[in-house]
């Protein structure tokens, strides 16, 4: 986290530390060049899981082509990961990189929220 902040400061040295929304916008700008590491935890191949997998894949292809890693994990197969990754809900998409760590839960039916969660869209544009 600290490292990230420093990095951002290096890129945009005249940014005001106290202006959080400005920093946030800058973060979104900067994220366009970063590599995404994503893990999608599902509990069995239920319709809900399938929907989530499809939607995450589509978003990744649309917005992050060539700069993302997506791992789909079935918690039934690897139950120990539920603890390790602190996963409670299913499906859960964990954005490990770039920071901050974020968990997006649900069948990803709300694309806006998914994009905001992945820092691919500003939160204040969230109209629905």
């Amino acid at each position: 986290m600290d490292e990230e902040k420093r990095e951002n400061k290096d890129i945009l040295d005249d940014s005001d530390d106290l202006d959080v929304s400005g920093e946030f916008e800058d973060l979104i700008e900067s994220s366009s060049s970063e590599t995404y590491e994503l893990r999608l935890f599902v509990a069995g191949m239920t319709p809900k899981s399938k929907r989530a997998v499809e939607r995450v894949r589509r978003i990744c292809d649309d917005y992050l082509e060539g700069r993302y890693e997506l791992e789909v994990i079935d918690l039934y197969q690897k139950p120990e990961l539920a603890r390790g990754e602190r996963v409670i809900a299913a499906p859960t998409l964990v954005k490990k990189l770039p920071p901050p760590l974020r968990k997006i839960i649900g069948d990803m039916s709300n694309e806006e929220k998914l994009l905001v969660g992945l820092d691919l869209k500003k939160k204040d544009e969230e109209g629905n």
Binding site: P79, I88, A89, A90, I104, I105, G106
Partner: protein, 573 residues
């Protein structure tokens, strides 16, 4: 893994014993086995500890491994918190008898989009349960989920499913929940957990906090419905049930002296039974503490250890006061036989005090425990709690064969009688000290109201505090009633004078009689002498007269001879 129940609960419902002192008694055997139990209460009332003790006891005593799922405290925090209770969670987890799982729910990390479920949590729980083959599970406190997820509909459905799953797994679960303003739990967990609900409260009365536990419901089983005070001390959780009195302690025939010979005499000549509980009640200044001091003194003289809990005086003050009536307790303190513990009850509250007494008794192993006075507890708690606590205390002492000596300050107008009656039912011997007001004077009276198994005196004795300790005197019972103090002394001296007067009178009369007799006898002697004299004189006269008559006869014969006449004439013609 069904525990055979040794409790006489006829419901046939299998129960998992908690191993928590008192809880198994009031639930008639423990929590419903294989079912979830809800423990609700405010923050800091001991929910987490109850859950943890349930697991630790299960792992240690009943060979039932347990899983502790914490939504608030981390594994490290949990370990540290119970470390002081002697629960080594590390060791138990190494043996796979206990698993700790901290589930962190951070709202800011989570973005919700669309439908989801909590299968991740379910998988996580199942995995841990299977890993250590857990029979017991604690969820503390699952309501944290409500702050982590915004979709309450999903959450509620998932909770319902969770408890169903836990039941399906056959684990005995304890779910804790924070109480709401009007409801048992803030988010209405009682809606899902309906088998057994236990409520913990931390209530304040007269500035003293008391923890209480109540079983709100227990489906299919009988249980106690009262609120029970409980305490948390260095041995963990313990509940003080009134009704779970264990009366199977050993009793002894051994008697111990009260330290006052006359009082021993009133108690069948031998004093109290060892290991019994004795209550001395009386109004202010009737000498209750002096009786305590005598008791302590005589016990120490026998070489017994004594624990003296003084709630109204400092130990130095007691030592000084008792020295003034000729009882030197200081030598016993120096010899290490007499242990004073002087403090106000309000310092700890009721539960804290009981804990302190337990601890001291276990440490010192005294043969006599003196509590002066037990009223101090009434200011520290409510009547029921006080009674509960005293029942527990006397029970505890009896089971250890320790004599309990309690004093109770009763009010002069007798309003505290009901309290006394409540307490006295637990006591084997009840001694009453009373003020007797008479003739502008207040004196002390003592009598034995009851004494189980002892043929005690029914007499009221006057109770004197002298420079040489307590002395008992027979009260004056005379035609004008019972007298004590100076009235008794005056009456006694009056009696003495009166008696003396009578005696003198008797003596006087006797002497007079003697004198009269003597006088009469003297007279009689005189008369006898007179008689003697008279007789002598009369005799003399008679002699003279006889002589005279003979002479007369002689003369006549001579004359007739001389005249020689009428010789044949019969004489006396």
């Amino acid at each position: 893994m069904v525990n055979p129940l040794d409790d006489s609960d006829n419901s046939g419902l299998p129960k998992a014993r908690t191993g928590i002192e008192g809880l198994d008694e009031i639930t008639n055997g423990g929590l419903p086995e294989g079912r979830p139990t809800l423990v609700s209460g405010q923050a800091g009332c001991g929910k987490t500890l109850l859950g943890m003790e349930f697991l630790v006891n299960g792992a240690r005593e009943f060979d039932e491994p347990g899983l502790f799922v914490s939504f608030e405290e981390t594994e490290e925090e949990l370990k540290d918190n119970v470390d002081s209770l002697g629960f080594d969670l590390e060791e138990l987890s190494d043996q796979d008898k206990l698993a700790l799982d901290h589930i962190r729910v951070v709202r800011s990390e989570i973005e919700e989009t669309g439908e989801y479920d909590l299968e991740g949590l379910f998988i996580r729980l199942k995995h841990e349960i299977e890993r250590i083959d857990a029979d017991r599970v604690v969820l503390d406190t699952i309501e944290a989920l409500f702050s982590g997820f915004s979709n309450k509909t999903i959450l509620r459905a998932e909770l319902r499913r969770l408890f169903k799953t836990l039941k399906g797994l056959g684990v005995t679960a304890v779910i804790t929940g924070e109480s709401g303003d009007d409801s048992l739990t803030r988010h209405g967990l009682e809606e899902y957990v309906s088998d057994c609900v236990i409520h913990l409260a931390h209530t304040e009365s007269s500035n003293v906090y008391t923890r209480r536990l109540r079983i709100v419901k227990y489906r299919g089983s009988s249980h106690e419905t009262n609120e029970f005070p409980f305490l948390i001390d260095e041995n963990g959780f313990s509940i003080l049930p009134v009704t779970s009195l264990n009366l199977d302690y050993k009793v002894t025939q051994e008697r111990i002296s009260s330290g006052i010979t006359e009082l021993d005499d009133m108690l069948g000549g031998e004093g109290y039974y060892k290991g019994s509980s004795i209550l001395v009640s009386g109004t202010a200044g009737t000498g209750k503490s002096s009786l305590c001091a005598h008791m302590a003194d005589s016990a120490c003289e026998r070489g017994e250890e004594v624990l003296y809990l003084a709630f109204e005086e400092a130990s130095d003050q007691i030592l000084r006061n008792m020295r003034s009536i000729g009882i030197d307790l200081e030598r016993w303190v120096d010899a290490g036989l007499l242990h004073f513990q002087a403090e106000r009850v309000s310092m700890y509250g009721l539960e804290g005090h009981l804990a302190v007494i337990h601890k001291l008794v276990n440490e010192l192993e005294p043969e006599l425990v003196i509590i002066d006075p037990i009223n101090a507890y009434l200011t520290g708690g409510k009547e029921l709690e006080t009674k509960t606590m005293l029942v527990r205390l006397t029970d505890f002492l009896k089971q250890n064969g320790i004599t309990g000596f309690f004093t109770n300050l009763s009010s002069a107008d007798g309003t505290s009688e009901s309290t006394e009656v409540n307490i006295s039912s637990m006591m084997d011997t009840w001694i009453l000290l009373r003020d007797i007001e008479q003739g502008n004077e207040r004196n002390r009276g003592i009598y034995v109201l009851k004494s189980r198994g002892i043929s005690n005196s029914n007499q009221i004795r006057e109770f004197l505090i002298t420079d040489d300790g307590v002395k008992l005197k027979d009260v004056y019972v005379g035609p004008s009633g019972v007298l004590t103090g100076s009235a008794r002394v005056i009456q006694e001296s009056k009696d003495r004078t009166e008696k003396q007067n009578i005696e003198e009178e008797i003596e006087r009369l006797e002497i007079e009689l003697e004198r009269k007799k003597e006088a009469m006898e003297a007279q009689m002697d005189l008369l006898k002498a007179q008689l003697q004299t008279d007789r002598m004189e009369t005799k003399k006269k008679l002699e003279e007269l006889k002589t005279k008559r003979e002479q007369v006869d002689l003369t006549r014969q001579e004359l007739s001879q001389i005249r020689n006449a009428d010789k044949q004439d019969p004489q006396g013609s």
